[in-house]
Assembly symmetry: C2
Homo-oligomer: 373 residues x 2
């Protein structure tokens, strides 16, 4: 087995676990910073290591187009290419079935994309998605799935589910690499019954981990939480559960409360590049003028490099002057905030006080709307 | 005295010195990375410290416009604002008299700029240039000067020289801050006689250091070198000599050979942002296609973070994908290369083998035109 998952403690549905990979141990619940194109945008691997991130995410679709999986394999694989010594997970391209809906054609055979870069054709079959991911060599690969829109009709959801299961079977059959784990992806839209049906069918294929896909694609948060709680409950207790592409700090807390172990999301880095910070006292928009002369750190409760060394006034200046260091420093802080939140959750679960911690944190997030924003 | 300068060794005209400032010791000859808007573009101060840079340059014109010198003073001064614990030097805005020639009006009273940001009026008199620099609080401030174009007629060069001396006197009279040294700036275009005349006049004002301005503004390198050698020779041996805004690796070597102690230039960072690297084997354009599958480091002879951890293929990919990490990693390497070159020169002078080192290095730079470029 490429990976091992150990459940260390539970507190309600929340789980404290440990995922052992060929590239080190990942304490769960975990947040995975996104490194779409073989880089966490704006940060050196040394800075990401400094945050004690244990696992990053890369993207099949983007890397297959540029610089190609074959080139990365020739250069020693994704870990070496991007100089990331710890664990990696690669997404399969299934999410782009949804996000690039205008630029793809999908059949049972696979999905054909028009490149967002130059219009070139990229064909992903389940077999090719697995092959690309084996070339990239992440510790965890994902099955190719069809991610339907949250507003799709039930017929379309059922069709995507059927195809996702068909593809999961073909991915499972195609996958060879012994030092890589292949996770199945549960689809089914916002129907608890379809989600359960999908999860049960995937479990018969016995994957070493399961993901919940097709959430946070436009539906109300409450609806997402209800369905993912029910879907997570069906999954085997001894396997890791990964909620794909989610989400806000509140989503992470609510996901953990429903038994999720792994998360990824572009929010901390994408928002960081746009001067939007997550802090223990709520969100902060650093471009806003009240920050112009503010000598305080971004988050006085945070011990990250940014908060230890720079004022909000300096960060405001960097964005105002369009200096690269602004995106770097706020991305760094936002990741520190996300990783810190996960660390707090791991401790709270281990100490069996997660419910109280969650209530307190959600109240804080609710209350926190700084005057400056 | 805010600074002390000690001459440790000479080798021909080349000088090995030590500049002691209120923010630490600067071994000379030294290269000062440029931090125009209170940041070395693309790098954190921690990364710049890691390169062992001892002194950075900031810009009066840019900082006066944004975020303003008054705000930086209110926030504790430029060192604290940008979190740079070592020495700083600020330029006076004199260079913008040349580079923003279309947007300024100049009289004996001073110079009025139209902001490149929003067209607002910025008036710099000698007194105001000193005041701004005292508010910024760098260890070394520069007199306001008039930098003429290298193709100006002799009459215009003489007029700029006269005004530069008039302003130097007024700057000297206006300067109060005891923990800051004020340097005079020698102008005089490409006339050795005018340069000598300007230097002599400034020396009567007894500045703690002297700069050579108005070089590398379009004239042929050979002409610059002949004039700066003659001008440097006039300056007192016991004061630091700073060649402003210069230059290429070859310029640095030739400048040191002519008795220059301090340099600054945007080339390592500006070129770094554009995928153009300086290496021990010549320049490398990382966007060029032969680098696409090159597993070698940017410069095998370099021990910087970039060269220790990443392939040329990865750097090529980062620029190709327009990822911020490309500019960061190549800026970092280019600065390491420049600072390393200065360190080699310091050692060669101390060991009285500078002439041989220089000959060898210039031959290497001459020969080095990698096939890939």
């Amino acid at each position: 087995m490429a990976i091992a998952f150990e459940l260390l403690a539970t507190d309600g549905a929340a789980r404290r676990g440990r995922l052992t990979t060929p590239h080190g141990v990942v304490e769960t619940p975990v947040f995975m910073p996104v490194g779409t194109a073989a880089t966490v945008k704006g940060l050196t691997p040394a800075q990401v290591l400094d945050l004690d991130a244990r696992i990053l995410l890369g993207n099949t679709y983007h890397l297959a187009l540029r610089p190609t999986a074959e080139l990365i394999a020739e250069l020693g694989g994704l870990h070496r290419f991007m100089n990331w010594p710890r664990a990696l997970l690669t997404d399969s391209g299934g999410y782009q079935v949804f996000s690039l809906a205008q630029q793809r054609r999908i059949t049972d055979q696979g999905v054909a994309f028009r490149s967002h870069i130059d219009g070139a054709l990229l064909e992903l079959t389940p077999e090719r998605a697995v092959q690309i991911q084996e070339l990239l060599g992440a510790d965890i690969a994902m099955c190719l799935d069809e991610c339907p829109s949250s507003v799709a009709e039930e017929g379309a959801i059922r069709a995507a589910l059927r195809r996702t299961l068909l593809w999961a079977e073909r991915c499972r059959a195609a996958h060879r690499r012994p030092d890589q784990a292949l996770f199945g992806i549960v689809q089914g839209g916002l129907s608890i019954a379809l989600r359960e049906q999908c999860a049960q069918a995937l479990m018969r294929l016995d994957f070493p981990g399961y993901a919940l896909g097709g959430f946070s694609v436009g539906e109300p948060t409450e609806q997402m939480l209800a369905v993912l709680g029910a879907a997570a409950a069906v999954l085997p207790a001894n396997k890791p559960r990964y909620l794909m592409g989610v989400g806000t700090p509140r989503d992470l807390i609510e996901g953990v409360a429903r038994g999720i172990d792994m998360f990824d999301c572009v929010l901390p880095t994408r928002n960081g590049r746009n001067a939007f910070a997550f802090t223990s006292r709520g969100t902060v928009k650093l471009r806003n003028s009240p920050h112009r002369r503010d000598p305080e750190p971004l988050d006085p409760a945070c011990g990250c490099y940014t908060c230890r060394h720079f004022s909000r006034a300096y960060l405001h200046h960097l964005f105002n002057a369009d200096e690269m260091l602004g995106p770097t420093l706020v991305s760094l802080h936002n990741l520190a905030f996300y990783l810190g939140l996960m660390a707090q959750m791991r401790t709270a679960i281990a100490e069996r006080r997660f419910a109280a911690w969650r209530e307190e944190q959600l109240a804080l997030l609710e209350a926190a709307t700084p005057a400056a924003d």
